[in-house]
Symmetry: C2
Subunit: 322 residues, 2 copies
């Protein structure tokens, strides 16, 4: 196990992230006090930050350092997708525990660089610090002509979904299960892949501006994130069971079986797929309709429409401090 000095590690990262550079907007990249971007022209700046913490969001006996780097980058970029923004650039702030030797750091940075290249979001700077617990904090700047907020959903809109439902949650349970992935049944490999290598849906996000009235990315569980959109918009949302199950397909059923849940339960509690949930009066290319927006009459914010009727839902999902 070898660990270079801080300056040598900055050089390692500069070399690794160089392949992600080349965006016109980047005037100064890694190596100065701050990065410099040229963002002249129309449109608003959309800006987000996300952290992934060892022991909270991942465990390195479940996942490779390269996967950790990829996941952390995609989780942050997903917020830009939900706003209908295109990424301009990213900064990576790493807190590294002693067990992250140079090889682990190389792999982590390679995963970040791979995700950054996939999304055309160059990593132009960051920070390095030592800690007892490793975390990866990624901040991204993007542009959007008309950012799409959580707060614009209106009664009469449809609810539209792009991306998988519940797969990552099932994948996490599978990689965390003693015995690992050798015992997977059919379809479960897709769940593991969904957790290890999620994709921020930036292309789908480009469908939103000018069409969708509101959007949120599904990171903490569909029920929880839909509830947040409902509260922000002052509306009631009805998720339609049949449409959700059709959207989830065989992979959702397979994942649910592995977890001992019904497919609907898994669809509602699953997060980290980084699907997009949008409200829109018109169809959105690449999205499927999974529900509707209704007026909020005081009887709750979120419902599922099942064969047995319309059932109120709690905002279940992941809460860091619950």
């Amino acid at each position: 196990m070898s660990t270079r000095s801080e300056l040598a590690r900055v050089e390692l990262l500069r070399a690794r992230f160089a392949s992600t550079a080349g965006a016109e907007a980047v005037t100064v990249g890694i190596g100065d006090d701050a990065a410099v971007l040229s963002v002249a022209g129309d449109g608003e700046l959309v800006w987000t930050v996300d952290a992934q913490v060892d022991g909270t969001h991942f465990r390195t006996d479940w996942v490779s350092w390269a996967d950790v780097g990829w996941r952390s980058f995609m989780a942050a970029a997903s917020d830009l997708a939900a706003m209908g923004a295109r990424p301009v650039a990213a900064l990576s702030s790493l807190i590294l525990a002693a067990e992250v030797d140079d090889g682990a750091l190389e792999a982590l940075a390679a995963g970040q660089a791979e995700a950054a290249a996939e999304l055309r979001a160059p990593i132009v700077g960051g920070n390095l610090a030592r800690g007892r617990e490793t975390s990866i904090t990624t901040t991204l700047v993007g542009r959007a002509r008309t950012p799409v907020l959580r707060s614009g959903a209106r009664p009469g809109d449809g609810l539209w979904l792009a991306g998988p439902l519940g797969l990552a949650r099932a994948g996490l349970a599978l990689v965390a299960k003693p015995g690992g992935v050798a015992a997977l049944e059919e379809g479960a490999a897709a769940c593991v892949q969904a957790w290890r290598r999620p994709i921020a849906r930036l292309r789908d996000g480009q469908e939103l501006p000018g069409r969708a009235s509101a959007c949120i990315d599904v990171s903490d569980g569909l029920a929880r994130d839909a509830w947040q959109l409902a509260v922000a918009s002052g509306v009631m949302l009805v998720l339609e069971e049949a449409a959700l199950l059709a959207a989830g397909g065989a992979a959702l059923s397979s994942g649910a079986r592995a977890l001992g849940l019904t497919p609907l339960e898994l669809a509602l509690v699953g997060g980290e797929d980084y699907a997009l949930l949008a409200a829109s009066p018109v169809p959105l290319s690449g999205f499927v309709r999974v529900g509707r927006v209704e007026e909020h009459t005081g009887g709750g914010r979120l419902f599922t429409a099942t064969a047995l009727g319309v059932v109120p839902l709690e905002p279940r999902g992941f809460d860091h401090f619950a």
Copy 2:
């Protein structure tokens, strides 16, 4: 000890940071997937991130949570000062261990908000996560018509300093000393204050564009940071002892006595004062001259000129992985 849910904690932060808002540029603040800024017009975007980690950068038995919040914000903002930028807005990403109860979080956020108000850099969003180790990661966006880099110093320039030298390092040693601050000698209180409540020198930074050829903020120790500027610019730097001691004044001498160092040693190894070190062919208002830029002839990057002659220096200072 009470800890609210994640959503309630987001509300706590939204309320606490509301007082920092009001900048024209902020279109969407806390509560959506991302913040939205309007940055039309001239100038480049300057963007930085910095993390402060419990046990690495501070210990909560040495410093209040409010001070931790203040220090973390100022440390990040200092990078903007060194580029000659004005802040537009900030995001705060918190990883909170179980011991950070709601009272501690309130105090931490109050310190961040106080610093943000001082610098007119509203906190417009962020992230909350749970961890075993607390850290505060702050990212700031600023604007600068002509950002000042580390790489522009030229032979013949003077070296100019704005801000204290070595005080924070002495202050840290004093707060960490068993017996605490009761035993302080004269001048040492200023050292403790320098460590607890550093100030990012944004106003001094506004002197740089169009005048200075290069700048760096002194966060890891003057010798280390000056060495980085020398390498980036491809020049040799000579720090002049008499000028450094005059710049440090009585507080530097007092701090050095408390640490058992000479004032010059303390000036060279001290960081976290967030002074600015600039190279400039012309005087800079608010700065004092502390040395000169010479051609690099292969004989080293950094020297001090003392009464005994010109002595080569190593890039000593804080290294996270040394």
